[in-house]
């Protein structure tokens, strides 16, 4: 335990090893689901497995070239989860369903997009320049499903889909990434203002409205649009993202107190005002009464069937392909956790939860390690988004909290969610590359100044031009406030 060498190691070989193990998990799951149904080793199986393996290894090679120091654990974890999801969706497909292949197509698209992000973005700090653009993009993405021409109408009680030719897409999934970029960019430049300026009321300090304005409007727009779209899960996700990022930026516990208070208050109001929210909460509290169970709209049939499924799975499960998880409505998307609980049992379900936990900790490790405030906030926000999604879905399926329509990252059937989560993985890998790699000195290559915003000669001994202040007005403002505080 006396390793004092500080030299960073790429550790890509360990990643390759773990990746092969992860692929073994995904592919053997896919083989097991059909082991007694004559579809174990058919052409479909070989086709799917080889495509997944090629894509995962391709991703690994890209990391070797472009992000040598990226976290070696993230990719194997995600590939294992995605492989498990593919196998379960494939297993739940009826004779003429094609969800499994569709999911595989989306997996390949999503991995290609994540590779493109790593290949072309190179440095996550570039994203900081798009702070306000990403706010505009988030607003646009959230409003899209309400626009008549593109909207796919109301599907399953929510207006969150848009139609692009033959495909339907959920733009809200991408909006969570752009919103995280906006929050990170805004908070990393205005953190001091929010912290120092403002008046104190009792033990809590409230920032000035002028500093919080963009945050509040971003929040109101996202929540407001989601109310019109009747998408409860996404509202919770955006609200949680907002609270966590501002808490991480300012380290004031009062934000969490206010946030949880608002969430409970908002939930109470929503359950009384909107019938669908009220029905959800009733279905959660009184799941096992006859009246609620048999209700055609907003009943607890789905949750209770899921619970029965998990109960029949017991400790070690019925075995992949041996249970009957398809009794539950939406067994391959919203309730996929219940399907895994039935066929892999408590041991398998814990393994899946553990994988999500490890992924989340790696995201936070990248945030701790990276040196710029923007990267820290972005990594925190993105990994928290994954964690919160898992909590809301798994909590909903196990009846810890009311069931809301969010997708299980990487497992559930659905292209938009898969795409968004793979992009998040790409960004996390890039941030971890910056965090773990040797100190990046690209900003100051002598002579060749690539950063054309501030041209400062970098040759020692020569007279220097004064370092220009990025935003003089705000800066002087902060300084006086800071002096007053001291």
């Amino acid at each position: 335990m006396t390793q004092t060498d500080g030299a960073p190691k790429p550790r890509r070989n360990i990643e390759l090893l773990l990746l092969l193990l992860a692929l073994a998990v995904g592919i053997s799951a896919n083989a097991l689901v059909g082991v007694d149904q004559e579809k174990a080793f058919d052409t479909d199986f070989w086709f799917q497995s080889s495509l997944l393996a090629v894509a995962a290894l391709g991703f690994h090679v890209v990391l070797r070239i472009r992000a040598k120091y990226a976290d070696p654990v993230i990719l194997p974890l995600v590939v294992a989860l995605n492989g498990l999801g593919l196998a379960m969706i494939h297993r739940l497909d009826g004779p003429d369903d094609d969800t499994g292949n569709n999911q595989l197509r989306w997996t390949l698209i999503a991995m290609a997009v994540a590779i493109a992000v790593i290949w072309f973005l190179k440095d996550h700090r570039v994203l900081r320049r798009f702070t306000y653009i990403s706010l505009a993009v988030s607003a646009l993405l959230l409003v899209l499903p309400l626009i008549p021409g593109i909207s796919a109408g109301e599907i399953l009680g929510a207006r969150v889909w848009i139609r692009l030719g033959p495909l339907t897409f959920q733009p809200g999934e991408i909006a969570k990434i752009t919103l995280a970029i906006f929050f990170a960019g805004y908070l990393s430049s205005n953190r001091d203002l929010i912290l120092l300026a403002g008046r104190k009321i009792g033990p809590l300090q409230f920032p000035r409205f002028k500093d919080m304005g963009p945050m509040i409007t971003a929040w109101l727009v996202s929540i407001g649009v989601l109310i019109f779209q009747r998408d409860l899960g996404s509202s919770v996700l955006f609200f949680g993202l907002f609270i966590v990022m501002i808490y991480v930026a300012t380290s004031r516990i009062s934000w969490v107190v206010i946030g949880v208070g608002l969430l409970l208050g908002g939930g109470f109001v929503a359950s009384n005002v909107f019938s669908h929210v009220g029905l959800r909460i009733n279905g959660w509290l009184n799941a096992f009464t006859d009246e609620v169970y048999g209700r055609t709209f907003g009943g607890s049939y789905q949750i209770v069937e899921g619970l029965f499924g998990m109960a029949s799975g017991g400790l070690v499960g019925t075995g992949l392909g041996q249970g009957r998880p398809n009794m539950v409505p939406f067994a391959n998307s919203d309730m996929i956790i219940a399907s895994f609980g039935e066929e892999l049992g408590l041991f398998g379900l814990f393994a899946i939860v553990m994988m999500f936990l490890l992924l989340f900790t790696r995201g936070f490790r990248a945030a701790l390690g990276t040196r710029d405030a923007f990267g820290k906030l972005l990594a925190c926000g993105l990994s928290f988004a994954i964690a919160l999604q898992c909590f809301v879905v798994i909590g909903g399926v196990t009846r810890l909290i009311p069931l809301t329509g969010l997708t299980t990252p990487f497992l559930a059937a659905g292209g938009s969610s898969l795409l968004a989560n793979w992009i998040i993985v790409g960004l996390l890998l890039m941030i971890s590359h910056a965090a773990r790699g040797p100190v990046d000195t690209t900003p100051l290559p002598p002579g060749t100044e690539t950063d054309n915003r501030q041209a400062v000669p970098a040759i020692p001994g020569q007279p220097m031009s004064p370092a220009p202040r990025r935003n003089p007005q705000i800066r002087t403002d902060t300084q006086t406030e800071a002096v007053r505080q001291l």
């Binding site: 500080g6 053997s28 082991v35 953190r191 000195t441 970098a458 370092a467 202040r469």
Partner: protein
């Protein structure tokens, strides 16, 4: 259940659960090294406990031999405790996001100072900052060599080179 016996299925079922956990434990084993955040942040000087455990460390530590600076440590200010390994390339210090060490310090300029290696020594140079850079309480007017353990003050942040 035609050609596959129940026994095979049971074996495969448990085998798969085992494989899942093998994956998880290998991942945890792979990140074991990384979890030691405190270890990395600690300075090169061995702690009292480490000296007690192997006494030869205590003798080796205060060697008067001129040592090469291997890391930069923030000893005061908002980023206190942060270390950066020194490579052979220059380091930009300042509040700007493109700086190598991003100082979250209101008294630092965007591009405040630059630390660069020349020969076997490191030099510090002020980049025209508003509040100046101080090497051992002396304001910099030109690039000066930084010895190990000599404090460099930038705004409210103090950094030091360590072996």
């Amino acid at each position: 259940m035609n050609d596959v016996s129940d026994l095979t299925i049971t074996v495969l079922r448990f085998g798969f659960l085992l494989l899942l956990w093998v994956l998880i434990f290998s991942i945890v084993a792979a990140m074991r090294r990384d979890l030691m955040i405190g270890k990395k942040a600690a300075t090169g000087v061995p702690t009292a406990r480490q000296m007690r455990r192997n006494p030869n460390l205590a003798e080796a530590a205060p060697s008067p031999v001129k040592q090469q600076a291997r890391q930069l440590v923030v000893t005061e200010g908002p980023l206190k405790g942060r270390t950066i390994p020194l490579a052979a390339s220059p380091i930009l210090l300042g509040r700007a996001q493109e700086a190598t060490l991003v100082l979250e310090d209101d008294y630092a300029s965007g591009r405040h100072a630059r630390l660069f290696p020349q020969g076997s020594r490191w030099f510090i140079e002020d980049l025209g900052s508003t509040n100046g850079t101080y090497l051992a309480d002396q304001q910099l007017t030109r690039a000066l060599p930084v010895e190990i353990g000599v404090p460099v003050r930038i705004g409210k942040t103090v950094i030091e080179l360590r072996p």
